[in-house]
């Protein structure tokens, strides 16, 4: 491609990582950073053993335990023998192959998509994979990042490459400024509600426009995190001064001369004017209000003051729609405001960073937790946990009747004991409202930390703007 051809950010990063192109087949795609965790890696390591293969570049893989860890009493032995076994396998495999391992109790431990960025492992222009679909989070830094299966984990361990057909490109632009009480989570839930849960399947997204340019890194991570919820392989945002300021000084970030050289390269990582996408969508920030989901996929979301759409508008998908509302115990055309909430969960790789807890605290400060609400407050990492303490947020939580748990994926996927009971309603800052996702029979309403906080103190679905100064 000549230098005069306008190129997208995605193409620049992708094309520079293709080791070999296979005719009528996938690209052999080089991976700069590989994150592993206890759930999707053990079988990959078994595969290596069965084939007699080693790990080609152990310094490009980073292990952390998160999916299946308890969020209380982490200093005690893990009770569930199966979970303990997975954690042990991660530790043993990492040690055997010389891979960095931040296990339970390590001060760097936390959710993989929180600890990667906060320790400077995630950098612009990288290709990043992990056996977890929310790897798309790292796209916030101008990296191509996406989730892979366990067979692919084995490929990366043994060859630092995977075989990938190049996705198509889609750009989503949001112009204007987000209103009061409207957060990055609302922006992405809005996009998903417009595109549907499968609307970006086959595509890689770029998020562009004023809203994302003005967004913090934490916010950009929240947005990119949920790219997979519309089926996209991932989402990317061009790195800028906000990105560089976030990375600078972090443990594994380049330093000194290497930093200056890196920034020079990173500044070229943007979509050239005139570059074309296979699909483009443009929205206005003014149309977005605090969002909430009412169904069993993340595309079934709406503004919090709206009413649930009618089944008649669902076309050929009517029966699936009715199955979904039936599961949730909701009816078409109902309002969501005022619905009773049993559980509130703040945390996860979507909303488990310090800004999320600041938002949460801004609403609950001076208020009390509703008596009937059980709240699980789960930081994304020990570093976030420390920030919560250092900034006085823990005091606000405690005064309002909340307890802080220890880091992990927790109730987002309910692999550990943090399960929402059957039939109960949870306002959750996580990423999926699938049937049973947060425990068998659980009913999830996805929302921002502000909406979660408003529900936690009122006990019902509440517009957070009513509680904001």
């Amino acid at each position: 491609m000549s230098s005069s051809t306008p190129t997208t950010l995605f193409d620049k990063v992708w094309d520079s990582h293709v080791v070999r192109k296979i005719e009528d087949g996938p690209d052999v795609f080089f991976i700069d950073r590989h994150f592993i965790h206890e759930v999707t890696s053990p079988v990959a390591f078994l595969g290596l053993e069965n084939r007699g293969l080693g790990v080609i570049f152990p310094d490009k893989t980073f292990a952390t335990a998160d999916h299946n860890t308890p969020t209380i009493n982490q200093h005690l032995p893990v009770q569930d023998p199966l979970s303990a076994n997975q954690l042990k396998a991660l530790e043993t495999n990492s040690a055997k192959y010389g891979i960095s391992h931040w296990g339970l109790g390590n001060p760097k431990n936390g959710i993989v998509h929180v600890v990667g960025p906060e320790n400077g492992i995630t950098l612009p222009g990288m290709t990043i994979v992990c056996g977890d679909s929310h790897t798309s989070t790292h796209g916030a830094f101008g990296a191509i990042a996406f989730g892979i299966g366990t067979s692919e984990v084995e490929m990366v361990l043994s060859s630092q490459c995977i075989m990938q057909p190049k996705p198509k490109k889609m750009r989503v632009t949001i112009n204007g400024k987000l209103g009061k009480g409207v957060t990055p989570k609302d922006a992405v839930l809005y996009i998903i509600s417009q595109l549907t849960a499968a609307g970006a399947t086959g595509y890689f997204l770029e998020y562009a426009g004023e809203v994302f340019e003005n967004m913090s890194m934490e916010g950009r991570m929240t947005v990119c995190n949920m790219s997979i919820e519309m089926g996209a392989r991932g989402g990317i945002i061009a790195p800028d001064e906000t990105t560089f300021a976030y990375i600078k000084g972090r443990e594994k970030a380049p330093k000194g001369e290497a930093w200056d050289k890196a920034v020079e390269v990173w500044k070229t990582l943007k979509t050239d004017e005139g570059a074309t996408f296979d699909q483009e969508y443009t929205y206005n920030a003014a149309d977005i209000e605090p969002m909430i989901t009412y169904g069993t996929n993340p595309g079934m979301g709406m503004g919090i003051t709206q009413h649930i759409p009618s089944a008649a508008d669902q076309g050929g998908s009517k029966s699936t729609y009715e199955k979904s509302l039936d599961y949730m115990g909701f009816h078409e055309e109902e309002a969501m405001l005022g619905k009773k909430v049993d559980y509130v969960f703040i945390g996860s790789c979507t909303n488990g960073r310090i800004e999320d807890f600041r938002d949460f605290a801004s609403i609950i400060k001076g208020r009390k937790k509703a008596d009937h609400v059980t709240a699980w407050i789960v930081p994304g990492s020990h570093i976030v946990e420390q920030q919560i303490k250092d900034e006085g947020i823990l005091d606000i939580l405690t005064d309002a009747g909340f307890q802080l748990r220890q880091p992990g994926c927790s109730a987002c996927l309910a692999m550990n004991d943090d399960k929402i009971p059957a039939g109960k309603y949870a306002v959750s800052t996580s990423n999926r409202n699938f049937e049973g996702r947060q425990g068998p029979g659980s009913r999830t309403l996805l929302a921002s930390p502000l909406v979660a906080a408003a529900a936690a103190v009122t006990g019902v679905v509440t517009d957070p703007r009513e509680l904001m100064a």
Binding site: S151, M155, S158, I162, Q164, G441
Partner: protein, 198 residues
């Protein structure tokens, strides 16, 4: 892990006319605690298939003895959500070798191909025809011909072709996998890595 070669599969099919079947339905997260690839089929569609007391839910298709076969036919956007390969393992371990839908989630499609399950994407119209054929005769035979890239309802002769790239087709029909391919080009990868900024 090596898998069986896939060429021509003729079988009755199990109908699941539900859209957006996500990987949390295929295998809930609480069953992902194994460190070996064994026994996942027992928990395939766990919460749709069993009550809380582990008794089978009689109205779920896998518990209905009139339906069986190596082909699962499902509504659009099958396999969305989590990247867990366990979803594909559970489908394989249960005994399915082919999933037919009018639309697949990307990661699930890759995972399936990597373990020897053939995802066959058909038009919404053809998907309806398969459901209709199974409704008329639960034992209706469906032929999936990978070399010819066709899927045929044998009773009516209705057929449609499906897409798959040459590389993956070659792998599936020969039982090869990507790791074999990548191991054979390690020198090329080493010299690529030497030039990498990271």
């Amino acid at each position: 892990m090596a898998y069986d070669k896939f060429t021509v599969l003729t079988s009755s099919a199990v109908p699941m006319p539900i859209e957006n079947v996500d990987t949390d339905q295929i295998i809930p997260a609480r069953f992902l605690k194994a460190t070996e690839r064994k026994g996942f089929g027992d928990n395939l569609f766990r919460d749709w298939r069993y009550n809380n007391d582990d008794s089978p839910k009689q109205d779920f298709v896998l518990n209905n003895p009139i339906y069986s076969g190596k082909i699962l036919v499902a509504g659009k956007n099958f396999g969305s959500g989590s990247s867990r390969e366990h979803a594909a393992w559970a489908i394989y371990d249960y005994g399915f070798r082919c999933v037919v839908s009018s639309f697949f989630a990307d990661i699930f499609k890759n995972n399936s191909l990597n373990i020897g399950i053939l995802p066959v994407q058909v038009s919404p119209e053809f998907l309806d025809k398969i459901f209709t054929a199974i409704e008329a005769d639960p034992n209706a035979q469906v032929e999936v011909n990978l070399p010819a890239q066709t899927i045929t309802i044998l009773a009516t002769g209705e057929s449609e072709s499906f897409a798959i790239n040459t590389y993956k087709k070659h792998n599936l029909t020969n039982g090869f996998d990507d790791i074999d391919y990548l191991q054979a080009m390690k020198d090329e990868i080493q010299s690529f890595a030497a030039k990498s900024m990271y």
